[in-house]
């Protein structure tokens, strides 16, 4: 196996975040199941709240980061910003999917229906389609650079559109009032529930940060390898007919990729 290199700064960051996330999350789960009181009318199903709300928070946070990455890429065409948007979009899609699943599982016993056109849930469903559009635009663009540009456009328009979608769905809902609002979040939460929610929020946010740092490293490594493949391709003696042979050129390229 490769000899163990002294862990550099980013490796420590990853392991640190990972450990912290695990600790806080286990605490959160424990509190969600045991510490928090059982809701009077919804019973234990209400505890899904401690997973559903953090997921929703991360879905929107991830879209916010995609927005930042997209604006950064549009402004400075920096590959780092594109990586930020790419990584956050992938995580955003994962969390948005989980919001929808946990939302409908929670809704089942309360509305005895799997879906409810509730403002927050509906907006998340539309955000879910925007993420799918984001990946398709990147995949169908034909080449990586164009895909990044198109994705940045969708990232900016999508992120600005989400609050507008939320507002319009909310107004639309007032015309069709639904019996029970899904989550009981808000100031009237008893303290023990609020504390549990905050711990869970912190835990999942750390998880998001951990996955983001990891994902950014993977995307960075991919970009570096693609760069070397390009250099080999353009090298005088390399010709495009054969398959990729990067070895001959690797020494000249700075050792950044080896650590």
């Amino acid at each position: 196996m490769m000899q163990r290199k002294p862990a550099n700064r980013s490796d420590m960051l990853v392991t640190g975040l990972g450990v912290l996330a695990v600790v806080v999350l286990t605490l959160g789960i424990f509190m969600a199941f045991v510490y928090a009181p059982t809701d009077r009318d919804q019973g234990d199903a209400q505890r899904i709240f401690y997973v559903h709300v953090p997921m929703a928070w991360l879905a929107y946070l991830a879209m916010g980061v995609v927005f930042i990455g997209s604006v950064g890429y549009m402004w400075k065409r920096s590959a780092r910003m594109d990586r930020l948007a790419r990584s956050s979009a992938e995580l955003g899609f994962l969390f948005t999917t989980l919001v929808l699943i946990t939302g409908s599982i929670w809704g089942r016993p309360i509305w005895n229906a799997w879906w409810q056109w509730e403002a927050r849930l509906t907006t998340t469903l539309i955000l879910w389609f925007i993420f799918i559009g984001y990946f398709m635009v990147r995949a169908y663009a034909g080449d990586a650079e164009r895909g990044a540009r198109y994705a940045a456009v969708l990232g900016i328009i999508g992120a600005i559109d989400v609050p507008i979608i939320h507002q319009s769905v909310k107004w639309w809902r007032t015309l069709h009032p639904e019996p029970i609002v899904l989550d009981t979040a808000g100031p009237n939460l008893p303290d023990s529930m609020l504390v549990t929610l905050l711990v869970c929020l912190a835990g999942f946010t750390l998880l998001y940060a951990f996955l983001m740092v990891l994902k950014m490293q993977i995307e960075w490594a991919r970009d570096v390898l693609a760069e070397r493949e390009l250099t080999a391709l353009l090298a005088p003696e390399g010709n495009q007919a054969e398959r990729r042979t990067v070895a001959t050129v690797s020494h000249k390229v700075s050792g950044a990729a080896e650590d």
Partner: protein, 241 residues
């Protein structure tokens, strides 16, 4: 050659499409009064090089300077000073010849669109078909309309991708006249063509591309027909200028 900045100066330009390398370490300069004939077999990278000069395609690596500035960042200014003819016609079949040229004259920001359109039509010998729709023109006449569009705004450089395709004898004469007057007026021309003898007749300099690489780049006087033909066919690397 006078010392002022060359029209085009491209250095170490690479262009790749997926795993195919269309241009490999290409260095070309075009100065005032030069008519460069860009020759080479199909797929040698001629069109890619032309599209790079015309600011339609961004090089993967390398620099493209036009009129002394970085072509890509000053695209609108560069495009105002070059006239381009590509494989596909840029004119609208549904519009008449005059309507097409008046439209493009407006887009080029000319004030006297109508007069300029008529002058261009006369220059390419299409004045009789001025009010006919472009769709009714033959391949050769359509190419002349394309040429008229490229010279509307009196560009400094003409970038012509196989402009002679479909032209009859009269059409070729029109093209030669345009190239000659462009050179005489101190402008520049870069054109690709498959008609070897036609190219050698017009060009002041010959560049041969093979497999994305420049294999010959020399004054027209210093090359013979067969050295060029051999370069195109053999793809042997010859020390150019």
């Amino acid at each position: 050659m006078t010392g002022e900045t060359p029209y085009f100066q491209i250095e170490h330009v690479y262009k790749r499409f997926g795993t195919k390398v269309a241009l490999r370490d290409v260095n070309v300069t075009l100065a005032a009064g030069e008519a460069v004939a860009l020759l080479g077999a199909n797929g040698a990278g001629k069109t890619t090089l032309l599209r790079t000069l015309a600011t339609l395609s961004r090089p993967t690596r390398g620099t493209v300077m036009a009129f002394g500035v970085d072509a890509w960042s000053a695209r609108p200014d560069v495009r105002a000073r070059i006239g381009v003819v590509a494989h596909q016609p840029y004119v609208y079949p549904e519009l008449s010849c005059t309507e097409n040229l008046v439209f493009f004259a407006t887009m080029f920001g000319l004030s006297n669109e109508q007069t300029r359109a008529t002058e261009a039509l006369e220059q390419v010998g299409l004045i009789r078909r001025a009010e006919d729709r472009a769709a009714t023109l033959s391949r050769g006449l359509l190419q002349r309309l394309n040429l008229a569009r490229a010279i509307l705004h009196e560009p400094a450089v003409l970038v012509l991708d196989e402009p002679d395709t479909g032209l009859d004898a009269a059409g070729r004469e029109v093209l030669s006249e345009i190239v000659r007057s462009q050179i005489a007026g101190g402008g520049g021309v870069v054109l690709t063509t498959h008609a070897l003898e036609y190219a050698l007749e017009l060009a002041t300099r010959v560049i041969v591309l093979a497999d994305g690489r420049v294999v010959l780049d020399d004054e027209r006087g210093r090359v013979t027909d067969d050295t060029v033909a051999q370069a195109i066919g053999g793809g042997a690397v010859m020390a150019g200028r």
